[in-house]
Amino acid sequence: MTHADVLVIGAGPAGLAAVAELARLGLTSLLVEQRDQVGGAIYRRHAGNGNHVLLLPEHHRRRRDGLMQAYTQAQERVTALTASVFIGVDRDGRFLIDNRRLGRVQSVRSKAVILAVGTVERVLPREGWELPGVVSAGGMQVQFKETGQTPKGKILLAGSGPLLLALAAQLAAAGNPPLAVLERAQPLASAWWQGRAVFNVLRSWPHVQEAALYGRELWRARVPYLTGWQVQSVQTVADGLRIDARHSSGLARQYAVQHLALHDGVLPNMTGLPGAAQSADNCIVYAGDCREVLGADAAIDDGSRAAQQVARFLGQRCDSTPLDQAIAAAQRTQAALAQLFQAAPVAPTANTVVCRCEGLRRSDFDRLQVAGSAHELRLVGRFAMGACQGRFCAHTVSALAHEYGVDFDPAALNGDVPRWPLRPVSLAALAAYSELESVE
């Protein structure tokens, strides 16, 4: 059994902020991170000698550097278990960790737990989205951060949301601007009649600076930002991908590229996780984007706030009001951005792959006859029965079911009982299970 006061899962901005704040308050923590180093996907440091430093707004850089410094100071009170994947909580309240260094599953019991596991990107399925060469925008960003290099060859970005702009600007600044950014929504047009939303975004000076920074890069590199456009289909051709795009007016266009990055938003990552809870004996708190998508800076604040909530549970006194205010401001901005980037989802065609893990298309869904519940769609239809456990198809399946008059929350596809493993785990590692011995 570990002797740490608090178990913190995820070493991205929220998790690092949490352990740093806990340490500042005199509390020790066990920090579990799936990657080989802390920072998560957001603060992924690059290996080797990649040439380009990622384009980053000044306030992001300041907060990131401040956080890494705070973490360094906190290290005495933090035990970091890297290359270790959190795979859920079992019936007996054991938090299970797939320790890939050791090659076995370990368990930890803790009265106080902070879950900071980040988001899952939403990617609407289109024909050919499953092809090699198609990645998510977040995925392209992670690889960029890791290698310090843009992908080689031509790139197209498509979908909806501010992340597309950030990525496009980063690629441009590093010397390989995308051919275009296809944005399904009409954020600029809607700004005319979404006055309040625009006002709320403008209230956040860091966001305005950030937009200006990205806008300047895109202008310099002449990257077309095409609103009202979406990808219809992707096909593999001799030296890459052929993409058929369509505008809401019916206009069509083709692109020949080597890489397509898709993105349709980010969602809190709650699949299969226990609910947030606080009782006399237990305190489980969520922090960062997995709780509510607010961006990296707000995630730092949310992590600090979660640490304070846990500290209060463990008998300390601290005031979270300034953090509450900062987070409330971030909520306002995010809500405003969501309004500006509103767009009707793409309806998948019959041939579109819906559940990639099980190789199921929309036509497979349409062929199901009597499935009248999420349970039946999963078991009989096999949707969400695969390795990703529905993380990428649950929303689409729920939307398709709605067309047939069967309504349920996408989370219902995972059943009504919390289940583990949250992620696939080596059978041998699970067979070699042991309780975690105390760590230094």
Binding site: V85, E121, G133, T147, G359, C388, R391, A429
Partner: protein
């Protein structure tokens, strides 16, 4: 200067050597080598890097014949022998029945 620059590191994808930098994930190295397809998947689809955070389970590879792992989460190591996660057929076929 980075020490790793002077030593060429390689792993093998289906016997083909792939260079990588120390501290790099398998996925990053494969991408730089221009390999996007990591082998057959269910229903005729193909594995490939997608989400980068170990969630989509599309970039699975098998290292030295062991259980599949996510290429985007796993560091490349010198001498690794990588193969697609899903065998096209089993190593041994069931024996004759009596």
């Amino acid at each position: 200067m980075n020490m790793s620059d002077t030593v060429a590191l390689h792993f093998y994808w289906c016997s083909e050597p792939v260079p990588f930098r120390a501290g790099e994930t398998i996925a990053a190295a494969l991408q730089r080598a221009g390999r996007t397809d990591v082998g057959p998947a269910v229903a005729g689809l193909h594995g490939r890097y997608f989400c980068g955070i170990g969630t989509c389970q599309a970039c699975l590879v098998s290292i030295d014949g062991a259980s599949p792992v996510e290429a985007c989460l796993t560091l490349a190591q010198e001498g690794m022998h990588l193969a697609p996660a899903l065998l096209s057929q089993l190593a041994r076929t069931p024996g004759a029945d009596a």
